[in-house]
Symmetry: D2
């Protein structure tokens, strides 16, 4: 078993990491790290566990450590999953990478750094080559690897099989679940019987991250993909699962059947515990995918698509994926698995 730790273990994303990792066949949680407010406490006293499955017994009594490399002096931990806020992640993740740890981060802080891979394994596994560049340039033993923002992941995974048709421009309207805002991020009064047509920095992420992910890695750097994105992001009263309406203009306009076939033919190339057998599930029913019915496909790692239609400018369809699994902790864990499997 490979020893792993969770940075920011007491928050909502940290709890999801623990839920996922505690039954992982390769990884064993040996360290839980958090801010000084929690450090020194037993984990069960430091957090308010709000997950549907019980807090694993062996972690209840584990002492939370301060999120500094020195805390891991006597630890065998190799990989750290980072669930800390972007502003703190900026320095903290660098410190751990310098100190020799592999940091698989869900935070936004380093996603767009030139030598940090921003990876969805089914899409751009070859970008992991950036880690060598990163280590060389920074002189680190460890490294930072990131996964994209939740909405970006759901959309970008479905763009990969369509790249063959020459994407020129896309519009996307999201209907995002409340869990994406964190446990206390959104007051009930703000969203019950309501839609909030604004999510801070979300449109900016959706308009930039996919271009890096779908860009070309030439052994030294990533050349950004050459199309444009315009996003409109909205919060709706759904617990989990981001739904996205996507319009694409292509260089060579494919037919609806071409697109369906591209989705259906899309296969994973690497088999690890968290990688879903079917990364993209094409739904046959007219009114699918739906978040409540389809978010748990592939244990929450499958993105489902449907309603592929053509219009005067191109193709439109619906994509939907579990934002806290495929779009967050599952994404980080999958990245780490691929690192392990490919011995990066």
């Amino acid at each position: 078993m490979i020893k792993v730790g969770v940075l920011g273990a007491t928050g909502a994303v940290g709890q999801r990491f623990i839920q996922l990792l505690s039954k992982h066949p390769w990884f064993e949680i040996t360290d839980l790290l958090a801010s000084s407010r929690s450090a020194g406490k037993k984990y069960r006293d430091a957090t308010r566990w709000l997950i549907e499955t019980p807090l694993p017994e062996n972690l209840q009594e584990m002492e939370v450590k301060l999120a500094e490399p020195i805390s891991l002096k006597n630890s065998d931990v190799e990989i750290l999953f980072s669930a800390i806020p972007a502003d703190i992640a900026k320095n903290t993740e660098v410190e751990f990478a310098e100190a020799g740890f592999t940091v698989a981060s869900n935070a936004a802080a380093h996603r767009m750094d030139a030598d940090v891979p921003l990876v969805i394994p089914e899409v751009n596994r070859d970008h992991l080559g950036l880690i060598e560049v990163q280590r060389r340039k920074k002189g680190w033993d460890g490294c930072i690897i990131t996964n994209p923002n939740c909405s970006t992941i759901v959309m970008t995974l479905t763009l990969k099989p369509l790249m063959q048709f020459g994407i020129k421009h896309l519009n996307v309207a999201t209907m995002q679940a409340i869990s994406g805002a964190g446990y206390t991020g959104l007051p009930a009064m703000a969203i019950l019987d309501n839609v909030v047509p604004y999510i801070g920095k979300e449109e900016e992420k959706m308009e930039s991250e996919p271009l890096k992910i779908l860009g070309e890695f030439d052994g030294d750097s990533v050349k950004t993909a050459n199309f444009t994105i315009s996003a409109s992001c909205h919060r709706v009263p759904v617990i989990d699962g981001h739904t996205e309406a996507i319009w694409i203009e292509f260089g060579e306009q494919p037919s609806v059947d071409d697109v369906k076939l591209a989705f259906r033919d899309f296969k994973r190339e690497i088999d690890t515990p968290t990688s879903p057998a079917i990364p993209i599930q094409l739904m046959k029913e007219d009114d699918r995918p739906q978040p409540r019915l389809d978010r748990d496909l592939g244990d929450g790692m499958t993105v489902s698509v449907g309603r592929v239609r053509s219009d005067v400018h191109g193709i439109k369809y619906i994509a939907m994926g579990h934002n806290t699994i495929r779009g967050a902790v599952g994404a980080s864990v999958l990245n780490a698995e691929v690192l392990v499997k490919e011995k990066v």
Copy 2:
């Protein structure tokens, strides 16, 4: 007071008509019409009243009549508001128009008929001229006038002030309230904690109706507007209020400020009881409009807009309006008011 009746008085839309008309300063309800299942019963026994305000006392004992012109033989009713299903409306509305009544219809059946006006008074009041054409061609004493589909109205009202910039194409993603499906139209199990990315025939309506409404009336017929629309329609767990994310490509790209100014400068041209003082309200806050907070602006007749942004292809913004008031019964009543005021 002008005597009016409601066709399809016992359904959800019929009840909303009654709610709105029962306090109307010009109109007095004298006749309630419905199918043979309800005809002959007292209104309060024929319907299950599901509106937040009580059923007006004077209507509780009114006998429901069968929805046939013969039922109105001894009635002074002039205007009939139609809330009947599209398939039944097809013949029934024609029968009443033939029999000399003005039918202000919320049904889809005749909206796209060449000589039936499809009207939003703030947008294309001049299309009322079609009524004369209609009467001449059909030989009717009465007439049929229609209002658009709920989602179409909300969007099209906001397009009017932007026509000056030469609209070439638009994409729209809707997040529509459940009340649009009728009281029993949508099971709770289908929509709680969920999004349904499909509404039957809704995209087709949104892609065709605006082109007729924004078309030019030359005294004899309407020449369809010359741009294209691609819609993606979704149901969300909201009671009332359709939210729409709109992207527009223009012939001459306006600035964000141009668009805001166009919204702000848009004024109503006719003052009737149901016409809102401010047809389009531009919201200043980043996260508005929101259905729960803004749907009742202008007693539900104001459409609110916000988040005007530019992108590489044009302009995007959010529009939101009350689907059962501005988008249905209020729209029909406003049409009738304008007919009365302009003595058509």
Copy 3:
């Protein structure tokens, strides 16, 4: 017009006070008071307005004052509506009462004080006599008058007409709306698709306040009513309107018809702008009252009851009322109106 002010004007309850008072026929808002965080700012900058009706124009530019009596040195204000948190209310309300102001408070701080009236005008208007006692004992020119907790008001109003049957014991289960927790009080993640079977201090309030309200005032003090209450309080995903299932054991068991008659015969004794013509509305339908359909009866001031049934031990029924209107700001304003009308 009587000049009034709002203590705690920037919070959720303060905003509701402003909404209600800004169209009041007797009261004119001249002062808005809040903590040092807001004092000195224009009201529109000090608050985030989250009410469905727009912030009244004349208040937008009003400068918020610090919540101290000195701030009102040059003001003609007579009545202060208090929407401040209980812990701050403890001293602050006393300071304003000492300084000669009438404080109509929605806070819990002084409700159970022996010489502070806890009043629902339709129930125990005579308890206003405590104000004289209060002034005499404290030597204040002003006074403090309080209204009960939201759940207490809804239930206690319906108990008044049943007191004639000799209440011995009651159990009550509440299904309370989220607005009772304040705008940010409850995360969406806590309540969507969920019930929270606990509300801090709510059961204690429901078990004690009604006994004071229904107690006897002998000219000097209130003798607590002689029955017992056991409450179980729960939060449900409803915006506004508390629903309560109530079981009562009586000394002399009334029939279901006796109870219905008692509800139907219950009349208000005083006519002021906020007092509803029908304080208790008995619903005929089997499945009513329901919060979304019935909370706005009597402009939110009517409590509706239904499903009166008998069981082996007594009577059970459902009561429902608007928690932020009848249960909070409307209650305070109604109290102030009665004070004014009766020249206390």
Copy 4:
């Protein structure tokens, strides 16, 4: 593997049976039966699958049979799980029992029949002795065994360990999930932002079924338990999980700790695939159990309790359980497992 069939396979409860049985270690689905509307069709064409996990592949093509014993002429099926409406169940279940099949029914039709066992295995497994009585009196080869109504199961399981204290009377207020009404049973407009304080026949079931279940079986018949129940049943906007507030008066008043201990000490006596290791889970947190967080404990078969408090008359607490698993299909399957294990 024991061959089993599902009666009423195409409805919401039927689908849940299929979901649960399709991964069952002892049972193999060989027959799907339904009304003449579905008979003769492939299962995937006869039903609209609305479960979060996919329709098992081997059942997609299975032909639905007419729900008559003759349909099973050439089948090896032994146990039939019944998910048919109560009015049809009345005769149909008898026909299958006469024809030699074991009918494990979730329908209400025969629950209160004197010689039909109404069983929760952890509570009254000995009532299975009624099957012999039933066979003897009716002359059947097969038999009918029933499980209680969903709300009854959740409550009654928690009453079992408290029977030692001599229950005299109880009041219960339920907050029931919408899935209990079937997929199309409840319009979204009826329950979003709402509570419906009425569920047809639910209070009657909760007031009678527990007395049979907790009654004494003397080898020939069940003597009803000697206490009284008064229920108030309410629908709330929750997908799955019934929450119940329960007040109990006892002959010998236990302390809060006595009750907690009784819950904690309650053990299952029989180990089968569907029986949960912990039938009753006592929650430590003040604000638990909650349906969204706790309904999946024990794969949906554990009932959780919390907030044990004392009042002047006795004890009050909260119980919560998954209504479609513990309260319906899981209950039937567990009953069948116990029959198999005990070779009844």
